[in-house]
Amino acid sequence: MHGPEHDSPALAYGLASFYVVCVLLNLGFAAYYWFSAKDKGQATLWGAVGGLFLVHVLIYLVAGLGGHSGPAAPQALLDRINSLAGPITYTAVSVIGFVALLVGRGFFTRPAVAWAMFNLSLFFVGWALTEPNFRGNMTTPDNVPIPLLIYSVGFTTWLALRRGVLNDARIAKGEAPLEKSDGEDDKVLVWPDLVYTELIAMIVCTALLIVWAIVLKAPLEPPATTAKAPNPSKAPWYFLGLQEMLVYYDPWMAGVVLPTMIVIGLIALPYIDFNPKGNGYFTFAERKFAVTTFLFGFVVLWVTLIVLGTILRGPNWNFFAPFEFWDTHKVLNLNNVNLSTIFWNWFGRDAKVMPWYTREIPGILVVLGYLFALPPLMAKLMRGFFIKMGFIRFFLLVNLLQFMAALPIKMILRWTINLKYIVYIPEYFFNI
């Protein structure tokens, strides 16, 4: 219902150009197979996919010339997707996808599979853009970095895993990793190999930024005022993962403790890492723990939460499905309860009337137990690690992991038992 371009050829032309890019990408890919890899089967396949996109180009071109916006995605399908969407599904799907990616890395990192997935995502985006709410959200100048983020993170992750998989296979066969075989000497010249490329990168970057600045002007948003907060009130896109944590934790925790732990953790990483392997080359098998932990923290807990915060959080920080109108008046049941309330109700007592120290005993115990009882327990369970790393490094690692796990744990508790706070001491503004 918003925006004047209900049925405008501009949309059709935009989509047509998008599909032109898709066609070109696939043709390039096909050409690579045809001429370079000499795999005619693959080349035909991707040529055909390119043809499919070309059909889209034609459809939208015709529509545009006729003054229409062209065919739109079927509303029933969009509604279905909307009805499936939710923060739980979203997080669950990302975690499952993540696990599947790691487990099936051999399959997923095949170029054809990856390319097919890339094509699917383009296809999805193309049709999704016909839906005004999604389009409005994605084409906001502020949100342009998000697709860039999604595709660049996707690509780099794929690249690392791909090379890791190849290297693992080589290592298993007793061969040297790819990186080793790339050059005979592992040293290169500062000039021109470093400085020259850096210079080129600088120039291209500058040119890119200029183009960006011209094409996408800084957007006008409401004037700053103390009297009225914008709704939704969003942090810059790169902080939206942090902002998402505010749903589950108090600001002191989500805004201070957890980010501090992230920074400390990143600094401490080289000192904690005891695995000398993977130095200078990609590998997965040799660094399973390190790669999995890092990717979980970065891709699942940081990047996907940014995407969630940008695209799926709307007014009042409510969750909105990708094709849903951001209605300010939407109200969701966010009636959460504290651990103390649940606990004491269980014993038939009213938590409200108790002094805080009695009331919060269970929560405090749980937190203390988590922080202090769990590490020794884990030392016992992960004896190998403990022995290899030594006391300090091990406990540092476990603590960092605990803080990282604190977020998903709280998320799950929120979704399953509507838990608000584990420790709830409003008297001293201390809630966990």
Partner: protein, 1458 residues
């Protein structure tokens, strides 16, 4: 680590990539520069430069004196000739050139020498003084001697120098003289050249100036170079224009005081240039051949002059060779054109110069933006939105909180500074913001402020219009002490507006419950033009939309409300209303406590309060017991008239002014009175009071006698029924009132006969009561069902379980349907807020129910609940793109009509609603206030409750088809709605810096305030108050019409020219003139417009000189009159209605002329109040307004008595005086105090002295002789009086019992005796010396002057006016003995001189003293003006003058002894 020469990457490839990236960077850099070059505002400025050049070419063409070219050539020739003469003179000089050169050199040398010597002279002078000082200071001795010598030396030197200087001066003078004598002829020739040049310049000056501008505006090489791409990034010829407003800040909410930067003029470059009017810009595209030729001629003319070395001040080669065209689209015209009202806005000399006010202060929008979309331009309608979207990529920006106001709402900004609103009416009738004023009046008339607070102040600071309800009890009812207290609070001064609906306290006497129910169900069903809004059958509660279980609730509610009102009303009439009972009970309680000395401080205060409340709540006397007249005296109810006599009631109803406020359909068709004489039709459109057409169905509610009694009482004295009513006391006799009432009640109202609202079942009542009970404070949900069976038990209703004033007290004891109804009625009234307009017992302290509107105009749309109103609009209305016909905005557009039974709805507002914008919300709220509940599940009592108003009441015109009328009706209603919106959107509560708030001078302030009171009591319904202002284009026809009227009357004494009726205050020299006046009752034809001028008009345009004095009728071509709607006069509607009516009644007296005017007819109607301020004495007017009495015998009706407060009356008095003083400064009006010199003894002495001198000795002697009999009688009278006093003194002595008393009485007796004796002696002696003395000293003038007044033979005054005991046969004018207290002396003089000048019509009063004749010298010697002045003088001191011996006993040389 030796470097290998093997590279990791291919060097060549890197080089290629590097090369490509460099090119990329270069390209993007150029792109960036290009992007800067094509910034929209630069494009606009680039286009503008062509427009500017072309437009100034047109100005040049316009000023080119082509038709005066002969004159120009002649003048130019004259210049050439003069120059030639000059050259000849130069050639003929007696000395060769070398001589002049030599003389010049010599002069220069002499002057240099003189300067040098003069410097020496000055220097030596100072040295001499020093030497003298030193000498005097030195001790005697050789030093002193040498110093003395030096001083002497200096003296000698100076003397020598002085001689030299004088010599030089002489030489210089000689030199000059020699040169001048040789040059004498040349000098004269030079002067001739100067004169010729001046004459030429006069002809071409404007043209030259225009040509210079045109040449300068041409784009030259430098401009072109600086605006090249890339170069324009540095010192661009384009630049952003900006106005900085540090005091008119933008309030972002929180960050206060953010200065405003308006860059609108960056694109709107022609906004302040008068020649950039839209019409000229639109015509720029045309370059007709004759214009091209003319242009070529003009340029050739200039070039020729340049070739002749005539100084032009510019190079004509700079002018473009050809006449250029610039085809502009309509949006470009709007972009570049000047502000349409440069007289009011933008221009540096206007009231709102752009440097001081900027643009966004009024227009809103993002002033700092330089792009069309970012500046938040807002289209005025859907068509414009579409065009803009297409042409300019327009879209609505939600993020800027103050988007530009669409043109239709731009007037709302006026409210920011014009808090009085009526200050937007200038010069009495010129509405500068007509839509806003209309909205303000609609809000005022419809009583929006009853539910919605419109406070106008925040923390004692004025932030907007103050439209609060007056305090209750009203100020007039308070003691002075209470009043002072109420008035002294600066942060919360009392409101001034009365509730717009009638009081319902005595409703039970007026009508029936059944009628009330039907009325509530559909007020417009009964009275189509009522202001009462609809509460039922709306989108939330019509039976069509209600679910089965709620279908009966509305009817039940209506029953309950009517029941409650009548129950309370009956109690009130018995003196047993709950308010009184509660107060009495409390009083008793408190008094008991006081007796026992147990009252607290708080209770003591409360005791006083309660006592006062009871004092104010006067116990009513039911009408059945007595009917009173206007003064409160009981009268007997006249007997009901028979069918024939009843018809006379209609005559009274028509004539006595009822139609000034009410209308009645029965008066719209001609009828007859009881004698079969015609009563003419009068089509009144008055809407101030209710339309009375169906009153018979309402009053009495079936009981005819009670109804009649009620109506008679209401007509006689409406204050009995409702003290705050604006209906005045009519001054009708009880018989007349009876006739009017009988006639009104005899009028058929059978066409209104709806079914009664179905009575509710007990179950329905219970359902409804349950709704309220569930939410009642302190009532548990568990007991609700029990209560609905048995009611509240007694003990349950006692404190603390239930408050004593809780509504639930009504359900005490056994539950009856009546109790339920009462309870529901009270709850419903408090929910619906009926008390916002009506006084209702039980709601004495209720708070208004609506959202405050104080700052609604800037309410954040995010805080408005739009809900599903957009869907409602889609389902309910037919969305039309346009409302007004684009070609003729007074007509509805084609698509603007109901379709498939759906009312039209403008797309502009549908879009606005869809975009969740403020104006869309407001529009729908006014259209169908409850539609926001559409398709929502809302509990019965949580539903929206704002009723549906109708703002405009259109009447079908003759010959209009049903559809056309419907479409027009919808359009007018939409316009009314938009006017209300304009007002509400202007309520932004932004405190503007004090210097910007309109702070008028005292006279203007009085005018502004008074206008509000005039409107409050509908004074303008009867009286003409202010003349209209007509801007008339001075076309040839118009000028001719003016010229025709330009003549002097024989009685136009020049001495009166300072008055604006005789002499215009300004001379009109331009293209337009402003005429003050009233249109005549009828217009002679379609093409002309006749105006009776109220102010003199002087036109001086070189070719035409004319002066038309006031009182003349000027007939100008209609098309020359601009803005007929905005400039119409203020008031006089009823006076206009009466004219044709009276003419039908008696064509001999009230004879209409061709323009529908009749002197007698005008005189019979309410008098015009134009110039009332200069006419009346302020204190008299004040008394008259409070207690009007009959003055003029010719009127058929009387001024009624309004219940004005002192403040209201004062405001009216000040209004008239203030208005006249500011519009007519020449007459030196004073108020509120007034000096009447005729009341001073010295004045009379002075006048008498002059008069006696003028008469001369003989005439004085004759007069003295004639005075003797009068003195004789006076003396006898005096003696008789003294003797009478003596008698009474004697009797007092006789009756005195105490010694002391007797002593005093005896002294008195002795003194009286003395007086009697003295008088007797005078009578005997015939001693009239004292009289003679005072006659010559101070009476002669008055005595003669009074004869002018009472002269029977000339009948100047007595023919029409009553003077003392002289009652004329045909009394036409007001009695003259009261003039001294009513009229201002200056006015009396002007009036007698020539009444026509001061009225809006030709007065019945003739012009008695003519300028060109000298008459009645036997009565009063002097010229006409002296006679007029003398008349004024005696009128202004009538009581004293009438007691003079010569007046009392009429020592008249001729006549005048009546």
């Amino acid at each position: 680590m030796a470097a290998t020469d093997k590279h990791y990457r291919s060097q060549k490839a890197l080089d290629v990539v590097f090369g490509v990236s460099c090119v990329l960077l270069l390209v993007t850099t150029f792109w960036m520069l290009y992007d800067d070059h094509v910034k929209p505002y630069k494009e606009v400025q680039r286009d503008f430069r062509d427009v500017e050049a072309a437009l100034y070419q047109r100005v040049l063409l316009d000023k080119y004196p082509a038709e005066k070219m002969d004159d120009v050539t002649a003048a130019r020739q004259a210049v050439a000739d003069a120059r030639k003469t000059l050259d000849e003179a130069k050639a003929k000089l007696s000395q060769p050139e070398a001589w002049f050169k030599q003389k010049g050199l010599e002069k220069a040398r002499l002057e240099a020498e003189y300067q040098d010597k003069k410097a020496n002279f000055d220097s030596f002078g100072s040295l001499l003084n020093i030497a003298i000082d030193d000498r005097d200071a030195a001790a005697p001795g050789p030093k002193k001697d040498s110093l003395a010598k030096e001083a002497e030396k200096r003296k000698t030197e100076i003397a020598a120098l002085d001689v030299e200087l004088q010599g030089l001066q002489k030489k210089i003078a000689e030199n000059e003289y020699a040169t001048a004598s040789v040059l004498a002829d040349q000098k004269k020739a030079e002067e001739d050249v100067g004169r010729a040049e001046d004459a030429f310049k006069k002809l071409t000056n404007e043209f030259d100036r225009a040509a210079k501008t045109a040449a300068q505006k041409r784009w030259k090489f430098g401009d072109w170079f600086r605006s090249l791409p890339i170069i324009d990034g540095f010192a661009s010829a384009y630049r952003i224009q900006q106005v900085t407003l540090n005091d008119l800040t933008i309030d972002y909410g929180g960050f206060k005081d953010v200065p405003r930067y308006d860059r609108c003029t960056t694109c709107h470059l022609g906004i302040d240039r008068p020649s950039f009017d839209a019409a000229s810009l639109a015509k720029l595209g045309d370059t007709p051949d004759e214009a091209k030729t003319k242009y070529k001629d003009a340029v050739a003319f200039l070039k020729d002059r340049a070739k002749n070395k005539e100084a032009l001040g510019f190079d004509p080669d700079d002018l473009p060779g050809d006449l250029r065209g610039a085809k502009l689209s309509s949006s470009q015209v709007k972009e570049y054109c000047a502000h349409p009202r440069l007289d009011l806005f933008v221009d540096a000399n206007s009231a709102h110069p752009v440097e001081k006010f900027g643009c966004t202060t009024c227009h809103a929008g993002q002033g700092s933006a330089t792009e069309f979309v970012l500046a938040t331009h807002t289209p005025n309608d859907a068509a414009q939105a579409r065009t803009w979207t297409k042409e300019k990529g327009w879209r609505s920006l939600h993020d800027w909180e103050f988007p530009m106001l669409p043109n239709r709402f731009v007037e709302s900004s006026c409210l920011k500074c014009h808090h009085q609103v009526t200050d937007l009416v200038r010069s009495g009738s010129k509405e500068e913001a007509p839509k806003l004023l209309k909205g303000y009046n609609l809000v005022r008339e419809n009583g929006c402020f009853g539910c919605h607070e419109i406070a106008g102040t925040k923390g004692g600071r004025s932030i907007g219009p103050d439209m609060r309800l007056e305090p209750s009890p009203a100020l007039e009812q308070l003691t002075p002490d209470e009043r002072a207290k109420v008035l002294s609070d600066p942060t919360n001064p009392p409101g001034t507006l009365r509730k717009v609906g009638p009081s319902l306290r005595r409703l039970a006497e007026k009508t029936s419950e059944e009628w009330t129910r039907k009325w509530i169900e559909s007020p417009r069903g009964f009275r189509p033009d009522t202001r009462m809004p609809h509460f039922y059958n709306l989108s939330t509660n019509s039976p069509d939309v209600l679910p089965e279980e709620q279908k009966n609730l509305p009817a039940a509610e209506m029953h309950a409300i009517a029941f409650y009102l009548f129950a309370e009303s009956r109690d009130y009439l018995k003196g047993a209303d709950k308010y009184r009972l509660a107060n009495e009970a409390r009083l008793k309680e408190l008094e008991d406590k006081q007796k026992n000395n147990t009252t607290s401080e708080k209770e003591r205060k409360e005791l006083i309060e309660v006592q006062r409340r009871l004092e104010l709540a006067v116990k009513p006397t039911p009408l059945s017991q007595r009917v009173v007249d206007g003064d409160g005296k009981p009268v007997t109810l006249p007997a009901a008239a028979n069918d024939k006599a009843v018809l006379a009631g209609r005559r009274l109803f028509t004539e006595k002014g009822c139609l000034a406020c009410h209308s009645h359909r029965a008066t719209e068709k001609a009828g007859t009175d009881g004698d079969g004489k015609e009563i003419a039709a009068v089509v009144g459109e008055a809407h101030f009071g209710p339309n009375l057409s169906r009153i018979a169905a309402k009053i009495g509610g079936g009981n005819k006698d009670a109804g009649r009694r009620w109506l008679v009482q209401w007509i006689l004295n409406p204050n009995v029924h409702f003290p705050r009513t604006r209906m005045p006391i009519t001054h009708l006799t009880p018989e007349e009132a009876g006739l009017v009432a009988d006639w009104l009640l005899s009028q058929d109202a059978k066409d209104w006969n709806p079914d009664d609202v179905p009575a509710p079942t007990v179950d329905t009542l219970k359902d409804l009561a349950r709704v309220y009970l569930k939410k009642a404070p302190g009532v548990s949900p568990l007991e609700v069902d029990g209560v609905l069976e048995k009611g509240f038990a007694d003990e349950r209703t006692r404190a603390p379980l239930m408050a004593p004033d809780a509504d639930e007290q009504a359900l005490k004891g056994d539950l009856t349907p009546e109790k339920l109804k009462y309870y529901i009625g009270k709850k419903s009234i408090s929910r619906l807020g009926c008390f916002g307009c009506h006084e209702i017992p039980g709601f004495e302290f209720a708070k208004p129910v609506g959202t405050p509107l104080n700052d609604w105009g800037k309410k954040d749309p995010a805080r408005l609940a739009f809900e599903d109103a957009a869907a409602f609009v889609k389902d309910t209305y037919h969305v039309a793109e346009l409302r007004d016909d684009p070609k003729d905005p007074t007509k509805p557009a084609k698509e603007w009509e109901a379709k498939e039974g759906k009312r039209p709805y403008e797309k502009f507002f549908a879009d606005s609603l869809g975009h969740h914008q403020r104006d869309g919300f407001l529009h729908q709220k006014l259209m169908e206030p409850r539609s926001y509940d559409y398709h929502r599940e809302v509990k019965w009592d949580d539903r929206l409750r704002m009723p549906q108003f109708r703002f405009v009441h259109a009447k079908a015109r003759a010959g209009e088809s049903e559809e056309d009328f419907k479409a027009r009706e919808e359009k007018e209603e939409a316009e009314g709605r938009e006017a209300v919106m304009t007002f509400v959107l202007g309520l932004v509560a932004e405190p503007v810096a004090a210097k910007y708030v309109n702070n008028p001078a005292p006279d203007r302030a009085a005018e502004i305030k008074g206008r509000q009171v005039l409107d409050k009591f509908n004074c303008a319904g009867c009286h003409q108050v202010r003349a209209g202002l007509y801007d008339v284009k001075l076309t040839a026809d118009a000028l001719e019409a003016i010229q025709k009227r330009s003549k002097k009357d024989p009685a136009d004494f020049d001495i009166l020219r300072a008055h604006n009726s005789w002499g215009a205050t300004t001379t009109q020299t331009g293209e337009k003139a402003t005429l003050h006046g009233f249109p005549t009752a009828k217009q002679a034809g379609e093409e002309t417009y006749s105006l009776a001028l109220t102010e003199a008009l002087r036109v001086d345009r070189g070719d035409t000189q004319a002066e038309v004095r006031a009182g003349n009728i000027v007939t100008v071509p209609r098309e020359a009159v601009e803005n007929l709607d905005v400039t119409r006069p203020y008031g006089g509607t009823f006076a206009e209605l009466l004219l044709p009516y009276l003419a039908r009644k008696n064509a001999t007296i009230y004879n209409l002329d061709a323009l529908g005017e009749s002197d007698q007819g005008r005189a019979a109607g309410p008098p015009p109040l134009v110039r009332e301020g200069e006419r009346v004495q302020p204190d008299w007017l004040f008394r008259f307004l409070k207690e009007p009495h009959k003055i003029r015998p010719l009127t058929v009706l009387r001024m009624p008595r309004f219940n004005l407060s002192d403040e209201d009356a004062q405001a009216l008095v000040n209004y008239f005086a203030g208005a006249d003083r500011s519009s007519n400064p020449g007459i030196g009006l004073t108020y509120p105090y007034l000096n009447v010199p005729q009341r001073e003894e010295a004045y009379w002495r002075e006048r008498t002295k002059q008069y006696v001198d003028r008469l001369g000795k003989d005439k004085v002697e004759a007069r003295l002789k004639a005075m003797r009999p009068a003195w004789e009688r006076t003396l006898k009278d005096q003696l008789a009086e003294a003797e009478r006093q003596l008698e009474s003194a004697k009797s007092r002595v006789a009756s005195a019992k105490e010694d002391a008393v007797r002593q005093t009485a005896m002294t008195l007796e002795a003194e009286t005796k003395k007086t009697v004796d003295a008088l007797k002696a005078r009578v005997d002696k015939g001693d009239y010396e004292a009289y003679r003395h005072s006659y010559l000293e101070s009476e002669a003038y008055a005595t003669d002057a009074f004869r002018l007044l009472t002269d029977a033979s000339s009948q100047k005054c007595l023919k029409c006016h009553r003077v003392g005991n002289n009652i004329p046969d045909q009394e036409q004018g007001p009695p003259l003995e009261s003039v001294f207290e009513r009229r201002r002396p200056d006015w009396v003089q002007r009036w007698v001189a020539l009444p026509q000048r001061l009225l809006t019509y030709r007065s019945v009063m003739p012009q008695n003293f003519s300028n060109d004749k000298t008459e009645l010298q036997n009565l009063f010697e002097g010229d006409s003006f002296e006679q007029i002045s003398a008349l004024r003088d005696v009128l202004m001191n009538y009581p004293k003058v009438s007691e003079l011996p010569g007046v009392r006993y009429g020592a008249a040389p001729a006549g005048g002894n009546k």
